[in-house]
């Protein structure tokens, strides 16, 4: 196994092993923390797809995280109340089936990303950052101002949605579902990045002029990457809503965009398991230091500063010790 492969396996082993050990020790809260880390990691894997591999610095991924969450919350609350979602053009009911909610959340996020990306990808650099931020804030303010689904107060749905054959309320089972999706997303990312699409996407990041000169248009490649990225982050949003059985506009806020970006940067931009390392460190710090002082993000800021200045490859970069290879 290559050194990068060893690091990837080790990070996942820590996450999964930690959750199983906590379960055996009866520390259910730690299992839930590990689940949260897995979900944040999945959100980061989504962002990393666009940011790390495509160089698309989206400061609006909370839009997809939150949309995935709201799709989940809205469908679940309708399933609970029995009230149809809409009766026009035909009756559409809510659902509490994860296997129905996930594709719906991903579809909504994909369509939103198609619209946002089609506009924002005409800009680049700091303008791209600002345009993605602006779109996300628009959706945020919309959620705040829409009383139908809780407005500012958010929307609770009491019972976690169901997954066929298992009890999703059991912490380790729920962890396994979330981590299973995280693993799928990692395999998907690794596969795509080795295929033609990934080669073109990474070439367009490094040298767009050269990419055009061999006959490849970056726009369509980037837009597709942005959509896939949003769908992965949206799926994470759906899981996060189910983790808390609650969604609120906070999931859509720019703070959330920043946090997802922090997972990626801490762990290593453009490194496959970077977001896994980043999310684990984030959740661990939040839990361990958050109990000591509410000012724990200041320490997180210091860590982030250190990484950006001295180890731009992030945690995974430090562990593999090598330059990033395609």
């Amino acid at each position: 196994m290559s050194r990068a492969g060893t690091v990837n396996a080790a990070l996942l082993a820590v996450l999964i092993g930690g959750a199983i050990a906590a379960h055996l020790a009866g520390e259910l809260f730690v299992v839930t923390l590990a689940t949260k880390a897995a979900i944040f990691a999945l959100a980061g894997v989504g962002l990393n797809f666009a940011l790390g591999y495509g160089g698309l610095i989206s400061f609006g991924h909370a839009a997809f995280f939150g949309l995935g969450g709201y799709v989940t919350g809205i469908l679940a609350s309708h399933a609970m109340s029995g009230e149809p979602l809409t009766t026009l053009p035909y009756t559409m009911n809510g659902t509490n089936e994860m296997l129905a909610i996930w594709p719906m959340a991903m579809l909504v996020c994909g369509l939103a990303a198609l619209a946002i990306g089609a506009l924002s990808l005409r800009t680049s650099g700091v303008y791209f950052i600002m345009v993605t931020l602006a779109f996300a804030q628009m959706i945020y303010w919309f959620a705040v101002g829409w009383p139908r689904y809780g407005g500012e107060d958010g929307l609770s749905f009491y019972v976690r949605n169901v997954f066929p054959g298992v009890n999703s309320m059991q912490p380790l089972t729920w962890f396994a579902i979330c981590t299973g999706l995280l693993l799928l997303a990692l395999v998907f990312t690794a596969t795509v990045m080795r295929a033609r699409f990934g080669l073109a996407l990474q070439a367009a990041r490094r040298n767009p002029q050269r990419t055009v000169a061999v006959g490849i248009r970056p726009f369509g490649i980037r837009l597709t990457a942005f959509v896939l990225s949003a769908m992965i982050t949206g799926l994470a949003g759906s899981l996060y809503a189910d983790l808390n059985r609650f969604v609120s506009p906070a999931m859509l806020n720019w703070h959330m965009s920043g946090e997802i970006m922090v997972f990626v940067i801490l762990g290593g931009v453009g490194r496959l398991t970077g977001p896994v390392a980043g999310a684990m460190l984030f959740v661990a710090m939040e839990h361990l230091l958050g109990g000591v002082s509410e000012y724990w993000p200041a320490l997180l800021g210091l860590v982030l500063l250190g990484i950006v200045l001295f180890a731009p490859g992030g945690i995974v970069g430090i562990l593999t010790g090598g330059r990033r290879r395609v």
């Binding site: 295929a195 699409f197 080669l199 990474q202 002029q209 490849i216 597709t224 330059r323 395609v326």
Partner: protein, 250 residues
């Protein structure tokens, strides 16, 4: 003479009051190397950018194999077989030599929306790529990251990428720039072979290379072509000597 592969006619481009391309007519015929020379600021780069599609002309036409290409974008022109190299070597630095050339083969194939099969395990990409790497004399460096190549090797990599586009014409922008004497000699030999693949429009400052390689030479001064002819004709042209070669015996 046979029909030109590339035919630029009455091309104009202005930036404000500055006319960078002033009624330029230029042809590139099968099998030839046509050198474009001129002092700095003559508008060579602007002309190249219009031919490859990075800039849109104000007036005039560009035909490529009889078809008008002046409204196509740069990627579409590349896929028609208009292969270029850049003044400053332009490759994907953290890709290996093989990955760079595979990218070009992929670009020429027009199919980048494939998500599953690893490119390095796809013989439809790697076999042509390895062939062109050998053609450019880079076989020993196949798995080296482009960032680790020497300047001359990077030039060769660009040529391998150009070859991978199955070119109908090459547009080489100062390929000799920054090459040492030894490197320049190798490159002149490589370019001389290249013309059997496709004709070359060569923008070059190195007069030794131009006079060694070119079948025809055009001289661009202040956006205008002031002379076109064989190497001997250009050397003898009084206006060229005055405006460009500086009057001394070139």
């Amino acid at each position: 003479m046979s029909d030109p592969i590339l035919h630029v006619s009455r091309l104009r481009k202005s930036f404000g009051a500055l006319t960078a391309t002033d009624d330029v007519d230029l042809t590139l015929h099968p099998g030839e190397i046509h050198a474009l020379i001129g002092p700095n600021g003559a508008g060579k780069s602007t002309l190249i950018k219009q031919i490859v599609g990075e800039l849109r002309q104000d007036a005039g036409q560009i035909r490529f194999e009889g078809q008008r290409i002046d409204r196509l974008d740069a990627a579409a022109r590349a896929r028609l077989g208009l292969a270029r190299s850049f003044q400053v070597s332009s490759v994907i630095a953290d890709f290996t030599v093989l990955q760079n050339v595979v990218l070009a083969v992929q670009g020429a194939s027009g199919a980048s929306f494939r998500f599953l099969r690893p490119v390095l395990k796809d013989p439809a990409l790697t076999e042509p790529a390895l062939f062109h790497i050998r053609q450019a004399g880079l076989s020993e460096r196949t798995d080296t990251p482009a960032a680790a190549l020497s300047h001359g090797e990077r030039r060769k990599l660009e040529i391998a990428m150009a070859l991978a586009l199955r070119p109908r014409a090459f547009l080489l922008d100062e390929p000799m720039a920054g090459m040492g004497a030894e490197g320049a000699r190798t490159l002149v030999a490589l370019l001389s072979d290249l013309r059997t693949e496709a004709p070359i429009l060569l923008v070059e400052h190195d007069m030794d290379a131009v006079f060694a390689l070119a079948d025809r030479v055009s001289v661009l001064v202040y956006g205008r072509i002031v002379a076109t002819g064989t190497v001997d004709e250009i050397r003898a042209d009084p206006e060229v000597r005055r405006s460009y070669l500086g009057g001394d015996d070139a």
